[in-house]
């Protein structure tokens, strides 16, 4: 048990849960707030749809090992532990995001819990998709620059497309696709699966460490 507790601390579980809860509170605070990004397009980007960026970036950043050398030479197989870390935190963030939607009042004319087309499923999907993208980004660009990929995904398509329908499969504009969009849901899970797999099995853990001056470097 002591090992699990210490592993969870190296992965900043407490900070991640706090960020997920803060995201939920922000979702409630933002409500139906949307903003326009594309002068050629008429639709608004709902802030609630993009807020899962926060837990996604945090989860990906926390997936990097602080004690890299020790973990690289571990007898324990950490692949399962890393996978569990990503999975548990993703589920916590998704449940909080999805649950928050249930508390949002539906504007008149929309069925309950499908506020502005983005219901619990859509927000949970966004958490998984953006987390997967952040994990993939961390794999490619390193843990401190992994945010580039999910932020690009959450912003760029709405500048590229003037209508959501321009993106027929709904994969680029995934974060704004409604609950019942099937392909985006499958794609989100696929992206999460790939991201979680590369985060758990990142072979760079076995790469010789870069030599830098000084001893006893803390990793915050």
């Amino acid at each position: 048990m002591i090992g699990i507790r210490l592993f969870a601390r190296t992965r900043r579980w407490l900070a991640n849960v706090v960020i997920a809860l803060a995201t939920g509170i922000l979702m409630l605070a933002c409500g139906p707030l949307g903003y326009g990004v594309n002068p050629r397009g008429g639709y608004l980007v709902e802030l609630t749809a993009q807020l899962p960026l926060l837990p996604a970036i945090a989860i990906a950043a926390s997936s990097a090992a602080s004690a890299r050398v020790q973990e690289r030479l571990a007898v324990r197989n950490l692949v399962a532990w890393r996978l569990a870390h990503v999975a548990v935190l993703s589920v916590i963030a998704a449940v909080i995001a999805g649950g928050t939607t249930l508390l949002l009042p539906a504007p008149a004319g929309l069925p309950p819990h499908s506020y502005a087309g983005l219901g619990s499923l859509a927000l949970m999907r966004n958490v998984f998709a953006l987390t997967g993208a952040a994990l993939g980004g961390s794999f490619v660009f390193g843990p401190r620059l992994g945010w580039i990929v999910p932020m690009g995904w959450a912003i760029l398509p709405f500048l590229a497309f003037t209508e959501l329908t321009d993106d027929a499969p709904g994969l680029a504009t995934l974060v704004l696709q409604p609950d019942d969009a099937f392909a985006p849901m499958i794609f989100a899970l696929l992206v999460w699966g790939i991201g979680a797999t590369v985060a758990a099995t990142d072979p760079r853990g076995a790469r010789p460490q870069k030599v830098s001056p000084g001893h006893g470097q803390g990793v915050l």
């Binding site: 903003y35 002068p39 926060l54 620059l145 945010w147």
Partner: protein
Amino acid sequence: MRALTLLARRSVAPIAGLAIAGIDVWLASLAMTPGMRLWADVVTGLTSAALPTGTLAAGIAAFEANRWSNANRDRTMVGVREPVLVRAQHAAAVALPVLAGYLLALGILGVIAALTGTYGSPAVLWLASLGAGLLLATAVGYWAGSAFGAHWFVAPVGALTFVVGYVAATVGLPVFGMRALFPAGAAMDSVFTRTVDLTFLGKSACWLGLTVILVVTSRGSRRPGTARRVPTIVVLVAGLTAVTGGVVVIAENGQVTAAYNSRDFVCENDGFTLCLNRGYAVAMQPLHAAFAALNSRVDGTPLAAARLEQNVEGIGDLPARGARSVYVERLSSPSDIEFAVERYVKKYGAAPHCGVESIGVPAVDYVDTWLSGADYFSDGSPEPARLSALKRLSASEGNAWFRAHASAYFSCSLTLADLP
């Protein structure tokens, strides 16, 4: 300069610069009006790109500032050079590749424009202000990155600060002039507008002033316990520049364009005269054919077009004496031409006489649809029989029918019973 190059090469800023160039070129290409090659669209696309490129610049600058300041803070403090100069040099090493990425994009777009015969010329002050905005985004990230120790969240916080600022400015500020002070925002350039230079000068001054202030006040720019004369003077000058620029922008209410018709026309005179802006010349042939078809139906009535000039719809729509306006913005499908004809019919036909009641006059709607050549029932729903009957008329039959019913049409008293 050598130190600057060395610092820049050791950072990820050059890669970010390339990414910024890619985003700029991509979004500027997407902003192109279908069927047209217009510099105004390039400017619109580059303006849209300010949000993602600014976000990237802020995040990368935060990352680099954080990495560098934590590694070199002590070294800087005991160095002979003034820390503020060392700091400014490093900030410049981060900002220059970012700015170079933007300039690279402009160069690429310029070459493409030259090769494809893109119409018009870029609004230089507008483009300059976008560069200034990118520098401010970099400075915001740099300042944030210097403020913290080596934490994982510094770079994303730098990037998110820019996005949050954009959202706050877009939805939170009631005054448009204040919104325009954020270094990213959606705005459209058009062939039928002229840029309000004063606004862009104000923006550039404001953003460059703020950039300087952020760099010289970033953590680690001052040696503790020493004189602060240089930064204070710089901050005062930069502050004055920023405030002056900001006041100008607010005074102009952030307005970046005003309606304007350059009357740079290319005309075709074949039965009637159709004049289109030179950038839209590619629309001449199909539009002329569409208006010729309309004229064949409305010949001898006030709706017949004699001289048409392309214009902007709304404020600034001031055609020359004896001319009528025609509106065409894109040419991606035949419906764009039909839409141009329809807007002409709606503007110069019965609709203005019917007022808000025009919607309740189906006969007028059917006639307008017929005259426009539009097909509003292509979704599979059955076309009304009366409309079908109109469409079956030959040009001469149609002209005869319209002339006979023109007075009823223009007085908005046309009924379904009047239709063939």
